[in-house]
Structures are given as C-alpha cells and as structure tokens.
C-alpha cells in the first residue's frame, strides 16, 4: 500500500489496559482502512486478545482513544460495538445449535410485523445476505447444530453482516477448520474485502497472514513493535520482531553434559486425538523443555503422559519397562506427577486448607490410617522445605498468593516421591520472587535424579531452564533444540516458517 490510504475505518491511538496492576497493553496504535485485511500477530500473551476485546467493546481501555468511522467512540459493551458496526467472529462460536440459520443470524433483532416475529422476512433477508457473499448453498432454514464447523463459521460471519458490520474481527478463524476449508475461508474473506469491509485478522499461522493480509501489526509484551505492509516483509523478519527480549532474569545452572543419568522415560509413536507420532526420551536428571504455541499439543502431551487423556497408540516405557498410563492413578503409581497449568480450575481445592491440599494425592493413592501421623509430619516438612508462606496450615488455600499456591501443589506431589515431573506453565501468574524459587526447585529436583518435562509459553524461561527443548506444532514434534537455542529458533519451529539460510 502506498501513501494514498483512504481515511481509516478504525483508528486506535495510545491504547493501554491493565489488569490487577499488570500492564497488558501499553500505548498501542492501530488503524484499519475500508477493504483492508489487517493481521495482528504476536506470541501468546502479547496482548492480541485484549486488544480485540477492546475494539469489540468487551473491555474499556484505561488509556487512549478509539475512533470508528470518523467519530471518537467509547463502547459501553459488545452490543454497543455491534450496533456501531463492529462484528467479531470468535474462535469459539456463539451460536444456538437447536435454532435455524436465520434465527441465529437475527437473534436479538428479529424483523417484526404486527408485534410478531416475521419469519418469512427473516429467512428471505438471510438468504439475501448469504447470496451477497455467494454462499447461497447454505439453506437459511437448516438447524445450525447440523452444519459443519466451516458452515457454522459462515453463519457467524453473516450474523455480523446482518448488523451491517463494517469492521469484522476474526480471532484465529482457521483454528477449527480442515485444510480445504481454509481455502474457502480465504475466498470469503476476499469477498468481504471487496464489499469494503475492514477485517482485523488475528492468527498464529504466518502462512495465512501472508496469504491474506495487506498490512501486519506485530505486538510484543503488550506494546506495538511495528506495522508493516505484508509485501515489505517476510516470515523470518516477522518472527524476529515477535521475539528478542533480554535474558536479564537469573536461572539456575543447567545440568552438565554428563550429569543426566540413564533414560527414564521414552515415548515411541505416541498418539491420540490431539497428538501424532510423538517420539521422545527423557533422562534422569534432565529438564526437557516443551515449546510450542497454545493448542499445539503441549498440554495434551503432559496429560497423555499423566493418563488424564491417555495415548491411544504407541508405547511408553519407564526405566526400560513398558507401562500403560491409563489414568492419573496409574501414572501416579508409576511415579509421575503433573503440575497443571490451570491452577485454580484443577490444581487446588480452593476452599480446603493448605494442609488438606498438600495431603490430597497421598490420601488418594496411598490411603492409610496408622501411617497418617507420619505422613502428615512429612508433608509439613515438605511445605516448610518449599517455603510456603501461609498464616497457618489450616488457612484456606484460596487466600494464598499464586506462588504460594503453586508451592503447596508442588509439596503435594513431592510427598509421593515422583521420579518424573510434568510441569505445565509452572510459573504462570506468579510473582517474580516465587518464580525464581520455583525455578530453583525444578532444577534441584532434576539434580536429585528426577526427569523433568517443563512446558512454558514464557520463552526466556523455557530457554533458561531447559537442557533440551522439543517444540510441538499441530500435535507433532516439529523439532528439537539443544541448550543455548534462541527465542527465534523456538518460534520458527513453533510457527512452521522455514528458517532462512544463516
């Protein structure tokens, strides 16, 4: 695009947003002109979703201005933004499966005649809208629940068009689509473009971004890095924009090359609904980092090894012997521990005491009546050893900070003396002090002979902690990196761009 840009449809200036004192967006500028596809890219946590929620009225910005169609705006909520002409197609659809296409499209603003819903007008107008994007093959009267994902997405888009959307936000629109459906989406997006609709396109997949976008905006840590015409850049340069922080924080020393002991865990050909062809081996004393984007299968791998969503194909061996990890109990009996990424949802029992939380796994798997005093004493020692700060051990765990909660969860697992520890985002939502305490603990466990798998979206953490890194993409292992790899290496594998010859 040249200097002769038409006046922008949407213009954001200096947008800032904080949650609980954490800045997630800071001084972001962005504009979209009519008929443009503007892609927004960045790592997990770069602030893309927050920015989209601000544009679509879900959040109010703390700072900055929004101009839409030439007038400054302050949206009171998503409906307000919709009425102004901003539609959004979420990754998860917002459709009523038991209702027809037309009913979904006009949900909440049904055409009315003599006080009753005018079903015929509703169907006809829906048919017109479908025709206008050349999707007439979709019958307005069919039940949405019977449609495939791709056609449900069309319904979502038509829903936005019915409200005369002039700007359409598409959040990871291809996440749920099969390859051939992606092509059809491309066609659809181009048709919207021809109608003068501006599209804000959020995606992890750089290929799509380059296929579709006129301009690309890169966000990193809540700040705007750059906005460039797609024609003036390439995937490599984009990746470099997305990474590149200074590794200022401290990480404990890695294992020396001959530190790791014998192979503790191997997976050969592992697969299930979310994973395919997983081959890996972890040695005692080693921290294996697992990188990849959200949804690439990182958590699925941990859950497969923990028996929560088991492998359906392939073999797993533990210390050389084949094992079947069919349930968390089986995995725990085999000496595997899993620290989940969703601490609140499945890591703690919020209303239970610190002590009860720490005792939970032991009570469940090794019930005892006579040995309970000794077990409690041991867990108390562990709570002290991991340095949990709580008023008393009877305090409900929900009153503790994230870091302290995580330490309690850790104590719960250490009580079982596990030989393999799976950490999924162990330091997410944890303050800096507790973070490095957990890093030290992870390394100490490895040094004491445990095999550790650690998933992290925090690239400096992943690079700083791991002895080796495996990067997943679309449920497969995209590649392996040695210690000393760079953020760029990880992201290149995670995004699936071909690295330029060095």
């Amino acid at each position: 695009m040249s200097d002769a840009l038409p006046s922008p449809l949407l213009a954001l200036k200096g947008i800032g947003k904080s949650f609980l004192g954490v800045r997630v967006l800071d001084g972001v500028d962005l504009d979209v002109v009519p008929g443009e596809v503007h892609a927004v890219v960045g790592e997990n946590g770069a602030g893309k979703s927050t920015l989209m929620k601000i544009v679509s009225g879900g959040y109010a910005p703390d700072a900055g201005t929004i101009e839409f169609a030439g007038a400054p705006r302050r949206f009171s909520g998503p409906r307000d933004a919709q009425r102004a002409g901003i539609g959004i197609v979420h990754q998860e659809f917002n459709l009523l499966p038991e209702r027809t296409v037309a009913e979904n499209v006009y949900l909440g603003h049904e055409p009315v005649r003599r006080g009753l819903v005018d079903r015929r007008a509703m169907r006809e107008r829906t048919a017109e809208l479908l025709a206008s994007i050349q999707e007439s093959s979709l019958p307005p009267g069919s039940r949405v629940g019977r449609l495939g994902v791709a056609r449900q997405q069309i319904v979502e888009i038509v829903k936005a068009l019915a409200l005369d959307a002039r700007l359409l936000i598409m959040d990871e629109p291809t996440a749920a689509l099969a390859d051939n459906e992606v092509e059809r989406l491309y066609v659809l997006v181009r048709r919207l473009q021809q109608r003068g609709i501006g599209v804000l396109y959020v995606s992890h997949r750089l290929k799509e971004v380059f296929d579709l976008a006129d301009r690309i905006t890169v966000l990193k840590d809540g700040r705007l890095v750059t906005t460039v015409p797609a024609a003036d850049t390439d995937p490599d340069r984009l990746v470099r924009h997305m990474v590149g922080r200074d590794l200022s924080s401290y990480y404990p020393d890695r294992a020396a090359p001959d530190d790791p002991g014998p192979v503790r865990l191997t997976v050969h050909n592992g697969g299930n609904r979310k994973l395919r062809d997983i081959d890996l081996r972890v040695r005692a004393g080693e921290v294996l980092g697992i990188g990849g984007l959200q949804g690439s299968g990182r958590s699925a791998l941990a859950r497969a090894l923990f028996g929560a969503a088991p492998f359906t194909t392939g073999e797993v061996t533990l210390d050389g012997a084949p094992v079947r990890l069919r349930s968390p109990r089986a995995a725990m009996r085999a000496g595997i521990a899993y620290v989940t990424e969703d601490r609140k949802g499945e890591g703690i029992v919020a209303g239970a005491s610190v002590l009860d939380n720490a005792l939970l796994a032991g009570r469940a798997v090794l019930p005892t009546w006579r040995g309970r005093a000794a077990r409690t004493a041991r867990v108390r020692e562990l709570l002290a050893a991991v340095d949990v700060r709580a008023a008393t051990e009877d305090q409900e765990i929900r009153f503790l900070s994230g870091g302290n909660q995580q330490k309690v969860v850790l104590a719960r697992w250490l009580a079982l003396g596990p030989g393999i520890l799976l950490f999924d985002e162990p330091t997410r939502g944890i303050d800096v002090g507790a973070k490095s305490a957990i890093h030290d603990l992870v390394r100490r466990l490895a040094r004491d002979g445990a095999a550790v798998l650690m998933i992290s979206s925090d690239l400096p953490e992943l690079l700083g902690m791991s002895d080796r890194i495996i990067v997943l993409r679309d449920g497969r292992i995209a590649g392996e990196l040695p210690a000393g790899a760079t953020e760029e290496d990880v992201l290149t594998l995670a995004l699936g761009t071909v690295p330029a010859a060095a």
Binding site: K344, G345, I348, V349, A350, G351, A364, V365, P367
Partner: protein, 328 residues
C-alpha cells in the same frame, strides 16, 4: 489494605466452622429453659435426645452426600419403605428380628448404591436421581402392601426406638436410641477423619483437582450415597420402634436432614463443613421444633420454617464467599 482486612475477617468466621451453629443452639436452649424449665431436667433431656436421634442420624448420612456436592432426597421415603417392609417381614415374630434388621441395612445400602451409580455413571444430577428414587419407593411400597401396612413389628425390634436403661445415676434414663446414635456418630467422625472422608470433601470442593490428584471421585461419591442409605436404615429402625408402622413414618425427613446439614454450616454444592456441624444442625432443628411446640405454634409451620432456614443459610454462606470465583 481493605481487601486484606476483609480476608482476615472471613478467615476468622470460617464458613463451615462450628461457632455459628453452637451459638444458635445455646440461644434456643436458653429460650426453651426459660419457657419450660422442666425441659432441662435430665430425664426430659435424655428423652429429647433419644427422640432426635433419627434426624441426627439422617443428617450425618446426608452430610457425606452433600459435602461431596450431591443431594439425597430419597431418604424420607426410604425410611417409610424400611418400616413398612420390616413390619410385613417380621409379622410380629420375635425370631425374625435380627435377620430383618440385617436385611434393612442391606436394603438401605443397596438403594444408596443405585443412587450413587446412576448419579456417577449415567451422569444424572443427583437431585433428579434421588427424586426419582423417592417416587419409586413411595409407589413400590404402596403396591407391595396393597395400600395398607401389613404385619407388625416385634417388641425386640421396637425396643431400640422406645426403650431405655432406666434408673441410671444422675441422668435418670438413657434411651437405647441415644446409645446407637453415639456409636454411629463416633463412626461418622472417624470416617470423616479418614483418608476417604478427606478425599470426599476434596471431591466435593473441586472434582477436577481431586481426579487429577488420584481420587476416584465416582467411587467416593457412590460410597457417600451408600452411607446415606445405611443411615436411613438405622433411622428407620429407631422410628419404627418409636412411632410404629405407617406410610407417614419417614415423610418429610429428607428435607429435615438437608435443612439440618445446611444449618450446621455444610455448604450446598460441597467442599466444606463437618459432620459434627451437620448433627448439631439436626439437634438445633429439633430444639427449634420443640420450642415452637411450647409456644403453641402450629406444627404446619414446620416446613415453612425449614424452607426459610435453607434460604437464609445458603444466602449467608453465598454472601460470605462472594469473591469465590474458583469455587464452584
């Protein structure tokens, strides 16, 4: 600062703690004592405790189900069914007393097992499962006895509910029912302190965390229903002895038990509360009913009072844990 302050307050009045129910109980006792000083004499108190035993037992059983995040609405009609079945099977023959008692316990456990399996395996909400069981038992008992209770209970059976050790030093008399209650209560307390009891509470508090920590959530919940069924069986034996055979024997007891448990500080939805609180809740409820009696309040108001207590107790506990986002 303000938040920290509020947190501290909330910790002190821990939801599920025993302090509130103890206060209410003592206040009611004092009111009763001033209205009817005789009530506080040892023999009258002992009789009162014996009379209250069935509801306290049912509350203990209901505790296990509610703390696991479920409901058991079937206990009332289960008690009725047990009493009617016992009368027909014993048919006033003393020699059948013990076999029938064992059969009743097995019957209670079986009904609990079915409730538990339907709830955990077929994923029917326990509210619906046990409501269905309630209706099934009501109808089945009518059908089985052709509309009128048959047979009769033996005196050996009835003594558990209505006899007592007489002329006991200091207290005058100790009803058998009270001794049975104390034994069961002791068992219940031990059970809640066992690994099963603790993991059951965790399963009620956050089933996903519990499952991922190795708790067999479905087993634990099913066992909770079995315990409730067993408690109903014991309660039925006492009620049959105390008030005899009728189709009304267990009417409304399920709501009495749930009210008692909630009053005792056990959170509906599961995860917190103690069995002692639940039993104290039942005792408090019985005290309240006695008080209402002395004041000449119509017995018809009982269910109104129970309903008000449930609403109030749940509203209070909801207000206390407002920011409890992580709690289901």
């Amino acid at each position: 600062m303000q938040l920290a302050e509020r947190n501290r307050l909330r910790v002190r009045f821990r939801p599920g703690g025993l302090a509130p129910i103890l206060v209410i109980f003592v206040v009611l006792l004092v009111l009763l004592g001033t209205r009817q000083p005789d009530f506080l004499s040892p023999p009258s108190l002992m009789s009162f405790l014996g009379r209250s035993a069935p509801l306290i037992l049912l509350a203990a059983g209901q505790y296990f189900v509610i703390v696991a995040g479920e409901f058991d609405l079937s206990v009332g009609s289960l008690v009725t069914a047990q009493v009617v079945v016992a009368a027909r099977l014993i048919d006033s023959d003393p020699s059948r007393t013990w076999p029938v008692i064992l059969l009743l316990l097995a019957f209670g456990a079986a009904v609990g097992l079915v409730n538990g399996l339907i709830t955990t395996r077929l994923r029917v909400s326990s509210f619906i499962t046990t409501l269905g069981m309630y209706l099934i038992l009501v109808g089945a008992v009518y059908l089985w006895s052709d509309g009128a209770p048959k047979g009769g209970l033996s005196e050996e059976f009835r003594r558990f509910g209505r006899r007592a050790f007489e002329d006991v030093f200091l207290v005058g008399r100790i009803p058998y029912a009270l001794l049975i209650l104390l034994a069961v209560a002791a068992l219940a307390v031990l059970l809640t302190r066992s690994d099963f009891g603790r993991t059951l509470v965790a399963a009620g508090g956050n089933p996903r965390t519990a499952e991922l920590s190795g708790v067999r959530v479905r087993h634990a919940k099913t066992l909770a229903f079995v315990l409730s069924g067993l408690a109903a069986a014991v309660a039925a034996i006492l009620i049959g002895g105390y008030s005899g055979v009728s189709f009304q024997a267990g009417a409304g007891l399920e709501f009495g038990a749930i009210t008692a448990v909630v009053l005792g500080g056990v959170a509906l939805g599961g995860g917190r509360g103690s069995v002692v609180g639940a039993m104290l809740g039942a005792l408090t409820l019985e005290t309240l009913f006695t008080l209402m009696n002395f004041y000449g309040v119509s017995g018809a108001l009982r269910s109104t009072v129970q309903g008000a207590i449930i609403l109030l107790a749940v509203a209070v506990s909801a207000m206390r844990s407002v920011p409890a986002k992580g709690i289901q």
